[in-house]
C-alpha cells in the first residue's frame, strides 16, 4: 500500500496533537500532586482544592488528551489510506475542532475558578456552574462534527470504489467513531436535558438514578473509544514496523464489529452497588460484559500471531526463538509492546470489577484507580506515545533521529516502571479498603487507615514514588513531542518518517457480511434496546422524587 498525501487532514491532525500533548502535560502535573498529597508528602495551599486538581486530571487525561490524540491519528490515517478531506469534510473538521476546543476551555476555566469541582464524571446532584455543562455540550457536539467528517469520508470512498475491500485502517476508524457517536448520545441526553436545565434553574429537580444510567450507558463504550485506536496501532501499524504483515485482515475486522455490537449493553456493571436497578438486569449486563472480552482475546491472538509469523518468515526457529527477533531497540515497537503487556492485568482486573457480587469488594476503592491506569493510562496512552515517534515527524515532514529514538526507549521504560509501582500500590491499597477520590486523611488515626501509610506495598508512599517516575516520563514525552514537531531535522520532500501501514498475510475472503454496516448497527441497536428498555421503564415507574442541585465544595 503506498501512502497517499493529505495536507489538509494533516494540518488538522497537527492541531489536535498540540492540544493532546498540552493536556498530557497539565494532567500529569495534577497526577503528581494527587499522589503526593495522598501520601502526605505535600499539602495544597488553601486556595487550591484537591478535588479541583482531581477534576482537572480526569478531564484532561481521560477525556481531552485521549479524544484529541484519537482524532489526530484517525485524521492522519484516513488521509493516508482514503485521500484528503473533501472541502465539506474540512469544514466539519474545522467546526468540530473549534467547538471542542472552545468547549473544553470553558469547562477548564470553570474548574480552575472553583465553580466545577465535580470530577470528570460530574454526577448529579452535584451542581456545577452552567458554563461548565455548556462547555461539555459544545465539546461533545464538536466531536460529532469531526466524527461525521471522517465517517462520511469512508462512505464516500466506498461509493467511489464499488466492490473493493475498504482499507483496514479506515474500516476500523469508522467502527471506532460509530461507537463514539452512539455512546455519546447518553451523556448528551443527561447534560442537555438534566444538568443544563438544573444549573440554569429551569427545573427544580432531577432524577439522579436516571442520570447515572444515561451516564454509564456512555461511560463504558467510552473505554472502547479509547482502546480501539490503540488496537488499530497494534493491528495496522505495528506489523509494518517489525517488517511483517498482519496475520488476518478478516478476523481483525470481525473483532472490531464485535466491539461495535457488544460495547453498549454493559454500562450497568458500573452501577452494581447502587439501588434502582434490579438484580436480573445487573446480572444480564454482567454476562454481556464478559462477552465483550472475546474480541480482545481475538486481538491478542492476531497480534501475537503476527509477531511470530514475521519472525519465522525471517528464519527464526524454536518455540520461543522468534521472540528474540523482535526489534526491542525500536521505540516504535517497544512502547506499544509494553503497553500490551499492561493490558493483561488490565483485562483481568476488569473481569474482577465486573464480577457481580465481587464488585462490592473493590467498588470505588483505589483498586479501580489502579485498574484504569493499567488500561487507559498505559495500554492506550503508552501506545499513543509510541506512535507519536512516527506520527509527529510524519505530519511535520521531519525525520526521527537516533537520539530521539533512544530517549524514547528511556521514556517507555520509565513510564512502564512508574506505572508498575503506582498501579500495584493502588490495587493493593484498594483491596485493603483505601477509597478513591479522597484527599489526605488518616480517618482520625484509625488503625486501618494508618496501615495504608506503613505496610510495604499497599502504601501511599509506594503510589507516590511510582507517580514521581510517571511524571518524569510524562515530561520527557512532552519534551520529545515538542522536539519532533518543531526541531527534528527537516526531511527531503517525500522522505519524512513514514506512516507505517501493514498489508495482511491472509486477506481471507471478504465476506460481504463484514461490510454490511446496516446489519451490524442494527444488531448493536437491538442489544441496546434489550439491555436498557426494562431498566429505564423501571426507573420511570419507581418515580423516585426529583432531587435539587447541591454545591458541596
Amino acid at each position: 500500500m503506498t501512502a497517499i498525501r493529505s495536507p489538509i487532514a494533516d494540518a488538522w491532525a497537527r492541531r489536535h496533537l498540540t492540544v493532546a500533548f498540552a493536556a498530557v502535560f497539565v494532567g500529569a502535573l495534577g497526577g503528581l500532586v494527587q499522589a503526593f498529597v495522598r501520601a502526605g508528602w505535600m499539602t495544597l495551599p488553601p486556595w487550591l482544592d484537591y478535588y479541583a486538581v482531581l477534576t482537572v486530571h480526569g478531564v484532561l487525561l481521560a477525556l481531552v488528551s485521549t479524544t484529541y490524540f484519537i482524532f489526530a491519528y484517525l485524521l492522519a490515517g484516513n488521509g493516508r489510506t482514503l485521500g484528503d478531506l473533501s472541502p465539506g469534510g474540512r469544514r466539519f473538521v474545522a467546526l468540530g475542532f473549534w467547538l471542542m476546543t472552545v468547549g473544553i476551555l470553558l469547562a477548564a476555566a470553570m474548574i480552575l475558578a472553583g465553580e466545577a469541582s465535580v470530577l470528570y464524571t460530574f454526577y448529579l446532584p452535584l451542581q456545577a456552574h452552567p458554563l461548565f455543562y455548556i462547555g461539555l455540550a459544545l465539546f461533545v457536539v464538536g466531536t460529532w462534527s469531526v466524527a461525521y467528517a471522517l465517517i462520511r469520508q469512508y462512505f464516500d470512498w466506498k461509493k467511489a470504489h464499488p466492490g473493493e475491500r475498504t482499507p483496514l485502517f479506515a474500516f476500523m476508524a469508522t467502527v471506532t467513531l460509530f461507537i463514539w457517536w452512539i455512546a455519546s448520545l447518553g451523556v448528551a441526553a443527561t447534560v442537555l436535558f438534566q444538568m443544563i436545565p438544573l444549573s440554569l434553574g429551569w427545573v427544580s429537580g432531577v432524577n439522579v438514578e436516571l442520570s447515572r444510567t444515561l451516564f454509564w450507558y456512555f461511560g463504558h463504550p467510552l473505554v472502547y473509544f479509547w482502546l480501539l485506536p490503540a488496537y488499530m496501532v497494534w493491528y495496522v501499524n505495528l506489523p509494518k514496523i517489525i517488517g511483517g504483515r498482519l496475520f488476518s485482515d478478516a478476523l481483525a475486522r470481525f473483532a472490531f464489529l464485535l466491539f461495535l455490537v457488544f460495547s453498549f449493553p454493559v454500562g450497568v456493571h458500573h452501577q452494581l452497588t447502587e439501588p434502582g436497578i434490579r438484580d436480573v438486569w445487573k446480572f444480564f449486563q454482567v454476562v454481556l460484559t464478559f462477552a465483550v472480552v472475546v474480541p480482545s482475546l481475538m486481538t491478542a491472538f492476531n497480534v501475537f500471531a503476527t509477531f511470530e509469523l514475521t519472525a519465522r518468515e525471517k528464519g527464526h526457529r524454536g518455540l520461543f526463538g522468534w521472540i528474540r527477533a523482535l526489534p526491542w531497540q525500536d521505540v516504535r515497537f517497544l512502547a506499544p509492546f509494553l503497553a500490551m503487556l499492561f493490558f493483561i492485568p488490565g483485562g483481568i482486573g476488569g473481569l474482577i470489577n465486573a464480577s457481580y457480587q465481587m464488585n462490592a469488594m473493590v467498588h470505588n476503592t483505589l483498586f479501580v484507580v489502579g485498574h484504569f491506569h493499567v488500561t487507559v493510562g498505559t495500554p492506550v496512552m503508552l501506545t499513543f506515545f509510541g506512535a507519536s515517534f512516527w506520527l509527529i515527524p510524519n505530519l511535520t515532514g521531519r525525520t526521527l533521529p537516533a537520539g530521539a529514538r533512544r530517549l524514547g526507549l528511556v521514556q517507555a521504560i520509565l513510564w512502564a516502571a512508574g506505572m508498575l509501582l503506582m498501579s500495584i500500590a493502588q490495587h493493593a491499597l484498594g483491596l485493603m479498603g483505601a477509597p478513591r477520590r479522597t484527599a489526605f486523611t488518616t480517618y482520625q488515626n484509625h488503625p486501618v487507615a494508618e496501615s495504608w501509610f506503613s505496610t510495604p506495598i499497599a502504601n501511599y508512599a509506594t503510589m507516590a514514588a511510582g507517580g514521581a517516575l510517571l511524571f518524569t516520563a510524562a515530561v520527557l514525552m512532552v519534551g520529545l513531542a515538542v522536539y519532533l514537531a518543531f526541531f527534528a531535522p527537516k526531511a527531503a520532500p517525500d522522505r519524512a518518517e513514514p506512516f507505517p501501514l501493514a498489508e495482511a498475510a491472509e486477506e481471507g475472503m471478504q465476506p460481504a457480511l463484514l461490510e454490511n454496516w446496516r446489519l451490524w448497527l442494527t444488531l448493536a441497536a437491538v442489544l441496546i434496546v434489550i439491555a436498557y428498555t426494562v431498566p429505564l421503564i423501571d426507573i420511570a415507574n419507581h418515580g423516585a422524587p426529583l432531587v435539587r442541585g447541591y454545591r458541596t465544595w
Partner: protein, 154 residues
C-alpha cells in the same frame, strides 16, 4: 473467513473460562442468594427527618437478626457509632439527605452507594468482634475525606 486451528483452541479456552466464571457468579447469586447491594424503595431526601424509619436512625435488634437504619449527609453519618452483635445477620438500610455518598465498612463486603431518591441495603454477619472503619468512598464535596463512622461488633 478461515480461522487458524490454534485460534480456535485459544478462543475455545477463553470463552470456556469466561463461561465457567459466569456460572460461578450466577450460582453464588441465584442459588446462594449472594447478590450485590440494591433496593427499589424510593425515599424523598427532603422528608428524611420526618418519616419513619429514617427519622430515628439507629440499631434495632429483631431477635435473630438486626436492622440498622442510617442516614448519610455531607459530611457525616447518623448514627456514627454503630454497635452490632457478632454472629447475627445485620441488615444496613441507608439513605442520603443530599448528594451521592457511599456506606462502606472497610474489611467487609458492605460497600453500597447512597443515591438520593432511593434507599439502599446490604446484609452482613460479623464473624469477629472489632472496631470497623466506615467511610464514604464516593466523592461528595470538600469534606468528603472527613466522612466516617465506626461499627463496633461485639
Amino acid at each position: 473467513m478461515p480461522v487458524h486451528r490454534y485460534e480456535k483452541w485459544w478462543l475455545t479456552f477463553g470463552i470456556g473460562t469466561l463461561a465457567v466464571f459466569l456460572a460461578v457468579l450466577g450460582l453464588r447469586a441465584f442459588a446462594s442468594g449472594h447478590t450485590p447491594p440494591g433496593s427499589v424503595l424510593t425515599v424523598d431526601p427532603e422528608l428524611i427527618d420526618t418519616i419513619a424509619p429514617w427519622n430515628a436512625p439507629g440499631v434495632y435488634d429483631r431477635g435473630d437478626r438486626v436492622d440498622v437504619y442510617l442516614v448519610g449527609q455531607a459530611f457525616s453519618y447518623a448514627p456514627n457509632r454503630i454497635e452490632v452483635p457478632v454472629g447475627k445477620p445485620v441488615t444496613f438500610h441507608a439513605v442520603t439527605k443530599d448528594v451521592v455518598h457511599s456506606f462502606t465498612i472497610v474489611g467487609t463486603t458492605v460497600n453500597m452507594m447512597l443515591i438520593p431518591g432511593y434507599a439502599n441495603e446490604a446484609t452482613y454477619t460479623f464473624k469477629a468482634p472489632g472496631r470497623y472503619l466506615v467511610l464514604c468512598n464516593e466523592y461528595c464535596g470538600v469534606g468528603h475525606q472527613f466522612m466516617q463512622a465506626e461499627v463496633i461488633a461485639q
